[in-house]
Point group: C5
Chain length 306, copies 5
């Protein structure tokens, strides 16, 4: 693994971390077709937990097999593969060392009666499975947001002490938030900022709309003339809100959509300075060859070729 200057510059932003954590961040940033570009694309497969197996895998039944996803992420030249405990366990030995893995430490499901998640993995699990990082979801706005923050605080401290990187999925919902507010620009930038303050190395948020949810925020956005007119401008604002770009921020692809729409969105993300994407259903619910082609296009965009 050769580490280029571009990656070294990024690693220097993580100035409080020990060499173990930096090495794991470097593993992700030097792996795959985006290796050493400073960009990254991650395959997450937690939809089975969130939405159930049929809704996740029936469109492309190969996806019922955990090995399918490992292989897809490897063959597509992605930067890392993220999944809950059982799914990583089912391929951890076969694919040991083949791609950096991220153990998702908490999970919700579509039967849930609260805006919360269950902790379903541990730092010890991540270590025994050879993971490079752990992932954790917080729901800013939720009545359970404080306990969720306290959980990731404790897990992140432990992760950093053993040289793992920390990825925070910051997904506003619940409490006083409107449905539209969940992807509002003020709420999304705030969500990314809180993830950064919680000590995340990599932050995952959704691409924001130009809706502004909180009145006190609206006044400032308008008075200061913060540009939120285009997706690229909004992405730039989210990156700025993540310690002026000192933190890696990746954006989810959201629900399944057409190829053209998806690639247009990726270009806007790239133009706004996003660190990369995290693409689940839009990749593994297509037939493998289509998925590989799509991911190649995504990577090409981040490599500046499209």
């Amino acid at each position: 693994m050769r580490v280029h200057q571009r990656v070294k510059r990024i690693l220097r932003h993580y100035e409080s971390d020990n060499p173990g954590t930096k090495a794991n961040l470097a593993r992700i940033l030097t792996h795959g077709r985006l290796g050493n570009t400073g960009k990254l694309v991650i395959l997450p497969v937690d939809q089975g937990f969130e939405h159930g197996p049929a809704r996740s895998f029936a469109p492309n039944p190969d996806g019922y097999d955990p090995h399918y996803h490992y292989q897809l992420a490897i063959d597509a030249g992605l930067s890392a593969f993220a999944a809950p405990l059982g799914l990583l366990e089912a391929g951890a030995d076969t694919f040991a060392g083949a791609i950096p893995t991220i153990l998702k430490l908490n999970s919700s499901n579509s039967h849930a009666t609260s805006k919360d998640q269950a902790i379903t993995g541990s730092i010890g699990d991540a270590l025994r499975l050879g993971c490079s990082a752990v992932g954790f979801t917080i729901y800013p706005g939720s009545d359970d947001c404080f306990p969720m923050m306290e959980e990731i605080r404790e897990l992140a401290e432990e992760a950093k002490s053993v040289g793992l990187a920390v990825v925070i999925w910051s997904y506003p919902r619940g409490g006083n938030l409107s449905k539209e507010g969940e992807t509002a620009i003020d709420v999304t930038a705030y969500a990314a900022h809180m993830a950064a303050l919680l000590g995340a190395h990599i932050i995952k948020v959704k691409p924001p709309t130009d809706h502004i949810e909180q009145e006190d925020a609206r006044k400032v956005y308008e008075k200061q003339g913060v540009d939120i007119s285009t997706l690229s401008a909004r992405i730039a604002h989210v990156m700025q809100s993540s310690f002026a770009g000192r933190r890696l921020v990746v954006f989810s692809g959201g629900g399944a959509k057409g190829t053209d729409a998806l690639l247009d969105e990726i270009r806007a993300l790239r133009d706004g300075g996003a660190s990369g994407s995290i693409i689940g259903r839009n990749s593994f619910q297509r037939p493998r060859e289509e998925a590989l082609a799509l991911l190649e296009s995504v990577i090409d965009i981040y490599r500046g070729k499209a």
Copy 2:
């Protein structure tokens, strides 16, 4: 104990586990009349906790004595015997080494005022009693589902670290679920999938009906044409939802029923690819000779002889 290729192939699916856990899975898979077939039948005796002693044992009063069940499981050539703490303690020395045992770690009862269970055993208990595995019930859908998942997460991590296998009873109930939904095909496949994601080695669910509970799921089942028309087809779908058959899934026999109906159901389970059955009331509530005959028939079906 000779371990056949068929069992070795199954063990290879548990690729993250240490030799201790694989050895305990092998103990269950090589024991009894189904030894080395890759199939298993388990005797569970937790009904005394769930429904009380009279409802469980008055029909066949020999069952008040814990030794009766140990002996029944041994004489019937079953794969394992599962029970709560006190019941295992009452025979652990007399029957030490005679049959693999599974300590049920949590229990509910018919006076309970919430859809939850109390933790009534520990990993330390399982070790001192010489068990091969621990069992734990989750109630997907219940308001207490997240805490239950967090309990088994912690217990499973500890179990795996000391070489025990983990069996999850995944029984949907409570919350927004309708009574019919508790055994709906979408809910059952989802319940099995979540147990797999939680890291279970063996999953226990109920045979599903063709009811579909969640609207978002119905759309996918219909659009993708998932076959749920017969019990065998539904079992195959549950197996597929359990990491494409990489996990052992056993099905409960449900309430007491006639012998013919039960055996017909077992054949459907077998034809759908089920790993086996877990049969409680249908065995120990009959006179011993009848029970032995019934279990012989069940085993014959799984051995492909009936």
Copy 3:
């Protein structure tokens, strides 16, 4: 201390226990006038916590002094003395080794606003006070029943690991239970069974009435013709529900009553196969000489002399 065959046979039922716990059970079963008979009578003095000092001790003011109860239990030749922390502390040195003691680990009081108890003692306390056993109350049916079960589970595991015996007071109340149901035969047998499943060495329940509380249970009692017509028959059913007599079960004397009524009840308990009695208010609220005479009569009944 000589241990007779009758006691050795009882100890063999505790087949998972270490020699330390068996020795402590043996201390109780070989002590006092019922030593080596396999029967036991215990003096419990937790009424001061449950009902207050005046209601407990004003009828016989000597009882305000903890030493009085130690001495009463010793002079009456009882098997053991059970009390909360502070009361045992107040006499533990003076009476060290003079009678087996049981530290009651939780307590309620008549100001309580929930059907629960506070944990008021620890295993460490029991060890430093030289106790042979610990006692714990659960309220089957109560909204707090699951946490109470989890508390005794953890305490019992620790107790067994350091060679103490475990006594569970299983007193149904709260939740959906009617007042009459608290002593119903189905509820009492179930309460004893759950205590056994929780790993109790000695179970304490109240003598049951012939009321049946739960409809599902009634059907079974009637269909199977379980005999609950006399107190002795009901006691036999409770013993059967306690692992077919593999566990010691003692019955409380209930509220203060006349001597004849009490002795009649003791005879019925004996005839039903009860392991013994636990008699509080009926002994210490009488003048000392009356109490000694009464306890002598009770012991004589269990010795088969009356």
Copy 4:
């Protein structure tokens, strides 16, 4: 420090305690003008936490300074000084060894929205500050009473293991208790008894009125003719309820009142057999010289001189 027979007799009542705890009890019982009399007077300064600084100290502004209280307790020849963490920290070095100190481990305040207290100190704090004892308030009757009892249980076990003495402030309130019931004789005697059962070495309650709160208690008081007609008789009943006088019980002075009324009350306490008094606002809210004179009078009463 010479320990007289009177104190040794008291120490013999604490028969389960280690020499460390007995030594600390002896430090309190041999210190000050009441040293070796078997009586004690304690200065508590937790009113700043309970009622705020102005209500506590504005009447005598010297009291804003923690050193003032240390010096007052020393100069008045009191037995011990009790205060919350920060206040003791502010003088612990200056007055090291000058007077036994009691760290109050929990505190409420006049903004509180529940009948509970926050834990604000630890056993480790008490040790590093050189304290002889720790203090803890329980609110019998409160909805939070069980958790409070469990807190002091755990803290008391730890305190005793490191040789500290335990003082329990037992102040009934909340739940079903009427305002008048908080100082009722039945409730107060019960509160003292529960503190004794919880393992307190020293118990603090309020002087009780002749009101009886609970109907079941009233019947017993009337039937048994318990004398509650005078304050002295009621104090005697509280002492009796504290293990027949085997535990030290001190009584609070209550709200600020006139000197004569206060001294009359002290005489009644003494005549009833009280172990002593704990006097806060009535001492530190007066000018220092008045306070010293008052405390001298109080001590003279307990010495039998007035």
Copy 5:
């Protein structure tokens, strides 16, 4: 670092602390332009967590970068810099040793649905980041006040044991408090007093108004003629309520306001004996040169030059 007599006198007030904690207090008190004056000015940057990034940093976008704030605090010659975990992590190495830092251990946000904060940092974090102190917010009056107090109690004990200083932000709100009451003089003095009793080395409160919130307090303020007529008088009362000036108390600047108004307020704080100020939005939301000029003026006031 030379430590002047003035600072040594202050350190003597912290008489229970170990040399490690005193050294860290000395680091803060000897650093910057107020070094060795006994006064201090702190830059806090937790507004991003509390109000979001745009409301905090859009007025002066340089503030999105954590390094900006470190550098501002250093160049302005401030005493210390306080921020949440992620923000300190982002500059801890670059600015190691350049200015004392305070890790804010808990945080709220403008989506919160309760008057509480999440714990977002640990003592271990503070140590690995080279901090001199930890900060923690309590909300006196809030329904969550007791848990918050218990959290800081535990954290403060750990902090002191490893030589860190403890800063408590005591901000009344919630429960029965009116909006006006949050800055009432009685409530503010009480809030400072409770922070002192909890063991804080440095206390942060808001400048109080002359409103009195609690009736019982009003009576005392009026009867005793406590002077609350001017801000300086009120500050003096707060200092008095903080152990008669034995504890350092700094006052926040509140919302952004004009320079003249701010400096007038600082003069009143100084005249009342305040230990110093903690100024966030009023400094970092202005252009850097303006902020430096303002902070120079503030420091000059505390140095007695203006």
